[in-house]
Amino acid sequence: MSLNEEVEVLRRVPLFARIDPAKLKLLAFTSERLVFPAGSELFHQGDAGDAAYILLDGEADILVDTPEGEIVVAKAGRHEFVGEIAILIDVPRTATVRARSELSTLVVTKETFLGMASEFPDVAIEIMRELAQRLADTTAQLTAARAAAAAG
């Protein structure tokens, strides 16, 4: 995949949708591209985190350790972003991410990510928008779950 094609893929990542392609090109150029064979882990819950991954191709499972063993809490696919929480705030990985099929990713290091956010206000605003959206979704889910629990 050439740099320009990568930029096209990045533009389809919601977080980067509104960002100037030139800045995405810099991000693509300064970020490593890593291929994970099916079944291998991108990172494990509890590890220290220093990078986030943009999935360029393939699918991944997001798993959480529970007393009953690992359970899949979500799936991630093409154009999704995983692992960004650990690079925004210094907490260990909150979940494990494992490749379901061969997974092609772009590794965004903490340094690059924060660098972009601080240099390009657009990126920071986009991140805020995305996180706010997620928070809203989570709140809605929680409300729904509580309502269901109260009703049940």
Partner: protein, 870 residues
Amino acid sequence: MEHSIYRYVIRHSLRAQVVLTLLAIASFPFLYAFYELPKQIVNRVIQGDTGDFPAVVLDVSFTQFEYLFILCGGFLLLVVANQAFKYVINVLAGRTGERMLRRLRYDLYARVLRFPLPHFRKLSQGEIITMITAEVEPLGGFIGDAFKLPVFQGGYLLVILAFLLVQNWVMAAAAVALYPLQFYVVPKLQRRVNSFAKERVRLVRRLSDRIGETVSGVQEIRGNDTSAYERAAMSAALGEIYTVRLRIFIWKFVIKFLNNSINHLGPFCFYSIGGYFVIQGRLEIGTLMAAIAAHKDLAAPWKELLNYYQRREDARIKYEQVVTQFSPPGMLDESLQLGPPPPGARVHGELAASGLALRDDTGTVFLEGVSLGIPADAPVAVVGAPGSGREELALVLARLTSPTSGALVISGERSDRLHEGVTGRRLAFVGPHAFLFNATVRDNLLYGLKHEPGPDARPDPRWVAEAAVAGNSTDDVNGDWIDHEALGGDPLGRMIEVLAMVELDGDVFDLGLRGTVDARGDLRDRLLRARRAFRERLADPAIAALVESFDADRYNDNATVGENLLFGTPVGEGFDTERLAENPWVMEVLEAEGLVPVLLEAGRTVAATMIELFSGLPPGHTAFERFSFIEADDLPEYQAVLDRAAQDGLEALAAEDRGRLLSLPFLLQPARHRLGVVDDDLRARLLAARRRFAARLPESLRDRIQFFEADRYNAAASIQDNILFGKVAYGQARAAERVKGLVTEVIDELDLRSAVVEAGLDYPVGIGGGRLGAVQRQKLGLARAVVKRPDVLVLSDATAGLDGGTHGRIADRLFREFSGRGLIWSLHRADLARPFDRVVVMRSARVAESGTFEELDRDGTALRELLEAG
């Protein structure tokens, strides 16, 4: 050290000075004759009455011409004799001066080795360096001249003066009439210059101190954006120096002006008074000419004498200033550092402190009334809050700091009377920041065993004699200094054992993988076998995806374009990957293959992409250093090149611009950079260029490169690269780590581990160990202390930079290693003291309590307080 430079000179070079003085005196008769003879030639032979000839000398008679030539011949001989005297005297004086300079520097350096440690807080590194190197340099020249110059030049002056007086005393007296004035005024002016010179010495010393601080504190300066402040401070310091230097020049030239003017009074007197006498017929013209000649020569020694006076004052001041700085109170006695230590001395029994106190010159109390006995055969912990005196106690126990009062008795001997050969060999100390020397890992590891030169050292006897004359050490630095008895019978095994003890063995192994070794014979065969064994593993597709092997007939996408072209490891300079476009042979090959236009086009694409990507970033952004092919400062330059290329075409570019563009594509790594520049056509043409490059490589360049050949060991490449024989594939998760694991497996299978560790031991650690991480440096410092097998190991926060788990494991191993020996450990955390036999708790410079951990771990104790404070 003598406090006056003259005493120092007399004590160490009396013989040479006497010889020089005698030689100077012996030259005077020849000098007198040298002035007398021309007078004879003119007055008696040239202007002589023909009636005087034939002249009869010693019953032989000469005609006028014969006599003329004989006297002229004599004159020539005198010229040679006088110059020969000057030559011999100057060479001897120079040699004496150089020897004394060598001695002085050596003496000063030897004193640095004996300074009490607190003195280094007052005297900075920069100051010490300037003093030993630059400041004493002129002293050497002065010392050579110390006695012979005044005697020789003064005598010279007197001889000429005597000659002039004999000719005509009125004229002579007039010519030197103003000398006494000069002699009175010049020193007065000189004193003014001297005080400026003193000031200059002080300022320059402060300047070097400032520069030294900048170098050490550059992180703080850059990290706080205080470079403007530092620049201003530098400007102020340089300004002060400028003012002082300017004043020195002005006064020096005032002195010169006076001197020269007065000197020219001489000719004035000769022409006027001498001419008057000649016209009157009271003086012969030959005599006047000889007098003028003699007076011209009078200026030189007179100038030398005045100059000598200036230099003498300068030297005296410098010497006194330097010696004062190098004579701090409390220096270690010379006899405790020089010469062999008492044979068989060991540290055993106990280290007994009684009434120890330690204060600095500002009166700050670090230790007060410390009395305790510490066994030299059991682990003892010292704990306490920061500033409790815990660190200072460790330094005093290791005899690195002398207590201000009280006594420390080590094995029945007062510590201040112990030879350093006992404290430095039988005791070991590791502080929180172990210092490493700029040498290999091995040199640093074994540094604690280098006490005296081995018995088989054979230094050149001439070198030894010269060193002895200058009072320098005559030990051969290149000999084998390692104390093999302490190291043990299996040096490598012991080194690996100790490295494992501090968990540095893995790091050294890794360094070895990245290191090169000039393998020969069996080792080379085994390394090549490892390469084959690794290649066999690549049959597994999961592993094959991790590595792209070198193949002479295939383009390697994980290597740079430059590497693909060279297909080998550069040796030394010339084929430096960054500067391939400057290499004539590379360019010749590219021209022949018609690749230049293609690569220029590629260079244009790379440059355009870099400008597009990076020109929006502020200069100094980390992305430039890590990712850009072009440095921030050069971006506008490249933009200009691209503009010119767009206007006139790539072919029309000047050679310099073409060079700029051509240098870029060599760094491309297609698998990684994905700029779409390297296509299959370019790959094929680069392969052709690779073949031409190697096949027609000129003889003179053969030793500049080691080609990648499947069945030949490449001594210029690292061990790992030799086994790998390829490139780690880009973009495979954890590829480097997994490849390293595989290489390590192969190494262990073929029993190559110790060879790799040996290569790791040869890794240069850089200035201050800068090429190692802080934790690695500290571990190496610990290993260095363990490997010398001291009787007592004193540690002060030596593991503070390590994580808790590592500390625990290292401590366990040290307990085992030092069982039956002493281990005194000043700990940064009180809970770490639990496994120790005894715990000493420091509080406010005093011993608060001491006993076993269990005894002290109860309510109300100082230990409990520390434990609870965390």
